[in-house]
């Protein structure tokens, strides 16, 4: 089932991607192929299998973290990869609200 160009545009907009008309057609085909491949799983009967989003067995639990502060990064370390900074803030283009 091919993905429509409109669906590709919607997904691209959500992902903040700007696609050319050629790319839209290209990705419509590629994404459709991926979805078709994954859709093969639908041929299995999993009606008796509970959804599994994690690799923990039933009843297995992971220890929670105690509420104790640990040192993190310094502002300079945190900003080391930032393209732009102002003081110790990340600087971003103006946000319109």
């Amino acid at each position: 089932m091919p993905l429509s160009i409109d669906e590709v545009r919607r997904v691209a907009a959500l992902a903040r991607l700007k696609l050319s008309p050629e790319e839209e057609r290209l990705f419509a085909g590629q994404l459709s192929a991926i979805l078709d491949h994954v859709r093969e799983l639908e041929s299995l009967d999993v009606s008796g299998v509970p959804p599994m989003t994690h690799a923990l067995a039933e009843g297995e639990a992971v220890a929670l973290r105690p509420d104790l502060p640990v040192p993190g990064l310094t502002p300079d370390e945190a900003l080391a990869n930032a393209p732009s900074r102002q003081g110790t803030c990340f600087k971003v283009p103006r946000i319109i609200e």
């Binding site: 929670l64 973290r65 640990v70 993190g72 945190a78 732009s84 102002q86 803030c89 990340f90 600087k91």
Partner: protein, 491 residues
Amino acid sequence: MPVADFEVVLGLEVHAQLLTRTKIFCGCSTAFGAEPNSQVCPICLGMPGVLPALNAQVVEWAVKTGLALGCAVQPVSVFSRKNYFYPDLPKGYQISQFELPICLGGGLTITVDGQEKLIRLTRIHMEEDAGKNLHELAADGGSGVDLNRAGVPLLEIVSEPDLRSADEAVEYLKALRAILLALGVNDGNLEEGSFRCDANVSVMRRGATEYGTRAEIKNMNSFRFLKQAVDFEVRRQVALVEAGEPVVQETRLYDPVRGETRSMRSKEEAHDYRYFPEPDLPPVRVDEALLARVRASLPELPRARAARYQQVLGLPAQDAGVLVGDGALADFFDAALAARGGGAEAARKVANWTIGELSRLMNETGLPPPAWKLTPAGLAEVLALLDAGTVSGAGAKALVEELFRAGGDPGALVKSRGLAQVSDQGAIEAAVDAVLAASPADLERHRSGKKDLTGFFVGQVMKALKGQGNPGVVNALLKKKLGGLPPGEGR
């Protein structure tokens, strides 16, 4: 007013910041007011390859809040990713709970116009806060982003659309705040945004069965603004419906300066958060042991406490309500009353001082009761001095203020500050005579019956005695000298 033909349908979403020491998924400090980006780490910065680790205290307090609000605490709940782009959200998604939140149902009772009403809750879930945008930071119009707040734990508490007026919404918010304060999980600060609320507002014609289209209102950081915003929004929607125009489902921002709500230019074409279960966090399990432990730790809740204050101590409903509105204030009251001892009369006095003078000083300084230099025993001692006539009402007030700001021993301060009340007949009479002699014109006006100036003279005498004259003695002496009330006072 056509508004009367309509019914208001309101639900509130409250975001309450939990008072944990560290963030929800990493060990960074949550302390307020630090240098921007000084409380961050690879996890809350959203660096690739990091894994979140859930803070045990967050789960415990979510359970505590759920139990206090009568919710069904879920044995298994799941974190989800809520996907959207914004500069204050480093990962490109917020870790929240969606399909399976930690608490379902529940509710809380409010009292409006003497009527009790149960407001049902839909759910309570745990999530992380976003960072903070500092607009117009740079000269070129750029914005700064501080991620110290990113990852601070929040509880989102969602009510059913059971509220029917702005007044009910305010009462609900006050009652919820009082409960969170009593539980010690939130500081209840609307202004600083650690306790914030959004309102879903719609209107429908009376008798209609279907709700109208709702608008979501944001940015109401006080009880007063909540009331103003809802009232404005109701008038706006009623006007639209009356004019036959549709109400648009949108997010609106309250502008406290103009007192109106405004559409936030909807840059986002229909929200699509593409929620899916957070693969990096296992389901949250709440077992019987945790439930039992948290249940045992629940304090007396505000409504029960207010009922006790009214029934056992005989406090007026209004005063009881103010005290339990802030659990720490009620704690102070309890401790001061225990130190003072006595029955309903003592309770009323301690309550009056706590609600009056101490609330005023608390609002002025922003200091919560545990941070006051005045102790409950200190207040009890001042009230004992007042009852014994050692200090006047004004003297007690001065004493309380001094103790609140600087602390000290009440008895010693009375001496060192010269606050002892003047009850000596001779001293007061001298002051009365001096005042009357200094204002012959006023005295004449009073005596001729043109105007009752008794209050004025009392004030002058008290001023002469630096506020420390015994009011009973001052009044009696003045009355004698003025010859009682003038006949046919004209007012």
